[in-house]
Amino acid sequence: MKKILLEYANMFAYTFTGLIFGLAFFLLFINFYHMQELAQTVDVSTYNETTKASIEEKIETIRNNINVYNQSTYTGSLNIYGLNTAQAKLQSCLDIIESDTMMHYLELDEIGINDSYNFVIDYKNEILNGCLVMQIKSMFNTDTISTLPNFDLVKPYIDMNVDTMLSADDYVQNNLENSDHYYFTTQANKNNFFNLVSDSYSNTMNNYLNSLDLLVEISNWYRSVVVGG
């Protein structure tokens, strides 16, 4: 009886060792695999070239629109404090867009997961918070701006768009942050991950372009106000 029990003990010992061997082997090699996945880079040179041209075009439009107004030569009847405020706020946004922080992403030929993540963070900090919230939203909450023509029509449109954009990139950031976590790789996960770098980047870039479109719309409104008034 004792011998049988000891044989069982021996069998269990080998079983435990085998299971631990399998688990350790799996974890060791999946770590190498995960490491390679994270080191993956994506070529975005062509994509960035076309995007850069589009962004520069939008920047030029905004600049032309806000330069229509000059306080020293303005002879219209509108509140000049309102026009000055709007011009200053739009100029601040333009400075943010043209800053090195945002422009250097357009110069990249290859991006990794960190570039993709940093782009999301910088877009949120600079464009969403620095420009859309601190400049544009606050601009439409000032009394001087509220005296300008069509303010009541433009304000709800701006508020709705800014609110949508503020949360549009959250899931991209969450996805990128979750890539650090270890997971049992399935084919679906793998496909998802391989697209994560480029998809996150292009998604953020699309949101960035949408923000610029909104700024173009605001600057068009500003231009029509100045020229009309």
Partner: protein, 152 residues
């Protein structure tokens, strides 16, 4: 050949155990300092490491051939400790870890934390296997003694 490999893995398992223990200790102390928690709270994490070290020392002192000359067991030990070291090194050195860069602590605690349960499972598994192999050794010695007595 088998003896050479066994000797190699036998020596390596001690070194790797110390390395894995040191790395885990370093990461967990840093994690506790960041959370401003009592250092004593991390002690339970090291119980399997210490138990395993004690068992290895017992195997060595008592010359338990069933464990120390078990190539498969020694190889598994090396593999487990190598995995722990690799996970620790990745938590510290892998610059592609997004959260590592985000929080700027120099160690990706989130990543390491995911592996803590696996580390415990593997270490406790090795402890159980070691103890079971010890029984086998004891039985073998008894058998050999009884055979010698019969011959005499």
């Amino acid at each position: 050949m088998k003896r050479i490999f066994n000797g190699l893995f036998y020596g390596l398992k001690f070194l790797l155990l110390i390395g894995a223990f040191g790395l885990t200790l370093f990461i967990l102390i840093r994690m506790n300092l960041r959370l401003e928690k009592d250092i004593m709270s991390i002690l339970p994490q090291f119980i399997p490491f210490l138990v395993l070290l004690v068992l290895f020392i017992i195997n060595m002192i008592l010359k338990q051939v069933g464990v120390s000359k078990n190539l498969f067991y020694n190889l598994t030990c090396c593999l487990v400790f190598t995995t722990i070291i690799l996970v620790g090194c990745r938590a510290i050195l892998d610059t592609n870890m997004v959260l590592n860069a985000k929080y700027g602590y120099g160690i990706d605690f989130n990543f390491f934390d995911n592996f803590l349960s696996y580390i415990k499972i593997m270490l406790y598994g090795l402890i159980i296997a070691d103890i079971l192999f010890m029984f086998r050794e004891k039985e073998k010695l008894v058998e050999e003694k009884s055979k010698k007595k019969k011959k005499a």
